[in-house]
């Protein structure tokens, strides 16, 4: 197993640890306003190597989602969402393809630059949150709540992820 996969696995464990032990407990509420939830674990899918087999990617997405679900007591919700973003990742990447193509295997800001990385991360994160809260509400009766939750959680999570990214700036 090459170094890029070792790094990815270690990072995945670390991110899941932070997500499930720390961020799950953070509850920002001002009266009726409880739309902020930090969700960083999609970063695992985002940072997996470019050449990852599509089928394997979907499977990894499902397993990570299922693992998160076990801690969130929402069996299936996160699994559904993570499977979804794992599947559409390749299409997002095709959309954002740099002019010289994907020369490097690791999809980091170190390799492709911060603007490209933030665009890529934002799209995946936004889709993730939208699907997640839609499935959580499970009915478009709550459309307003779904949208508010998506927007505020997106801003908060992206803020956190950008800081982490700038702080560590991983090579792989």
């Amino acid at each position: 197993m090459d170094k890029i996969w070792q790094r990815n696995i270690i990072r995945a464990f670390f991110i899941l640890l932070v997500q499930l032990v720390l961020l799950k407990r953070i509850d920002i509420t001002f009266g009726d306003f409880n739309y902020i939830h930090f969700t960083i674990y999609p970063l695992i899918i985002v940072l997996l190597p470019y050449k990852t087999n599509k089928t394997l990617l979907v499977l990894i997405g499902f397993l990570i989602g299922l693992f998160v679900d076990l801690f969130y007591d929402s069996l299936g919700v996160h699994a559904f969402t993570t499977t979804f973003i794992a599947y559409i990742r390749v299409y997002v990447l095709n959309l954002l393809s740099p002019t010289e193509g994907y020369g490097k295997n690791s999809l980091t800001s170190y390799a492709y630059g911060i603007p490209w990385f933030l665009t890529y991360l934002s799209i995946i994160l936004l889709m993730h949150l939208l699907v997640l809260y839609s499935i959580e509400a499970f009915s478009f009766v709550y459309l307003k709540e779904i949208i508010l939750r998506t927007i505020f959680s997106f801003i908060a999570s992206l803020f956190l992820l950008t800081i982490v990214q700038l702080l560590f700036n991983p090579k792989y």
Partner: protein, 276 residues
């Protein structure tokens, strides 16, 4: 087979994606209370709607059955009225209530299978026959009028000679005055019958009610047929020619009642004795 495997391999990501999403969905619906409720509720809405539609179609097919049961019930009521009318003439109402044997007429409801209306001799076919104890010579009535007399009976069907048949002769009378005569059809108008043999001294007027006389064993008395439309007296004749407009519209009939006179055998024996 090779192609199939290739196809599966090529789309393995998509297939796995769909399978896992389905699995997740099943997990969501099965293990999350609110989602489960919403899912159950909306699926109920859907299936409920479908069931309602199916029920509607089913109801349409049941209409025949419903009609049959209603007509049977109707027949029972009409039977009661006919028998009550006969008995109340002779006896008191209490007597009728007390005794069961007082039933002289039974009504057998029947559906019309076929009918002809535009011929000179019109017949209709009932969907009941000797199996339902229909016999030749029984009278047939509808809710508001006389329809005809059974001419032939097979196992499952019966042919009725209708009042709008040139051979039909029915004993009728002007209800209020008791002048009786024979009711015939002179094949001009489907709704007009002629009452013959009412003497010219009879005091009748347009609008008088015409009913069955009850002299024959075919029809019970006072079955309403129609009203006098107008009457003429041919020169040199002793009898009126009364035009009677039937209350019912025979062309729209769907159900009729066959009248079974319970004492017909008794009357028959008497007639036979008379004949020798």
């Amino acid at each position: 087979m090779r192609n199939l495997i290739n196809l599966i391999l090529r789309y393995s990501a998509l297939i796995l994606f769909l399978l896992l999403e389905l699995a997740s969905f099943i997990l969501i619906v099965n293990y999350n209370k609110s989602q489960k409720e919403i899912w159950a509720h909306s699926s109920n809405l859907l299936t409920g709607n479908i069931f309602e539609k199916v029920e509607g179609v089913q109801g349409f097919f049941d209409l025949q059955e419903v009609n049959d049961s209603l007509i049977a019930e109707n027949g029972k009521l009409l039977e009661t009225i006919i028998n009550y009318r006969i008995n109340s003439k002779n006896n008191s109402f209490q007597r009728f209530e007390e005794k069961n044997t007082v039933y002289n007429y039974n009504l057998i409801p029947a559906r019309i299978c076929n009918k002809t209306l535009n011929l000179r001799n019109n017949y209709l076919t009932l969907c009941k026959g000797s199996l339902d104890s229909l016999e030749v010579g029984m009278g047939v009535i509808s809710n508001n009028g006389v329809v005809g007399i059974i001419k032939a009976v097979s196992r499952d069907f019966a042919t009725v000679l209708m009042v709008i048949n040139s051979e039909s002769r029915i004993s009728a009378k002007v209800t209020s005055k008791n002048y009786s005569g024979n009711l015939v059809w002179d094949d001009s108008d489907m709704r007009i019958l002629s009452l013959l043999e009412v003497p010219k001294h009879a005091e009748i007027s347009v609008g008088d009610s015409i009913g069955t006389s009850g002299y024959s064993i075919i029809f019970p008395p006072d079955i309403h047929i129609g009203r006098i439309k107008d009457y003429t007296l041919a020169g040199g004749s002793n009898n009126f020619n009364i035009k009677v407009e039937m209350e019912q519209d025979i062309s729209t009939l769907e159900y009729v009642y066959v009248i079974k006179y319970l004492k017909s055998s008794e009357k028959d024996t008497l007639l036979q004795l008379e004949n020798g």
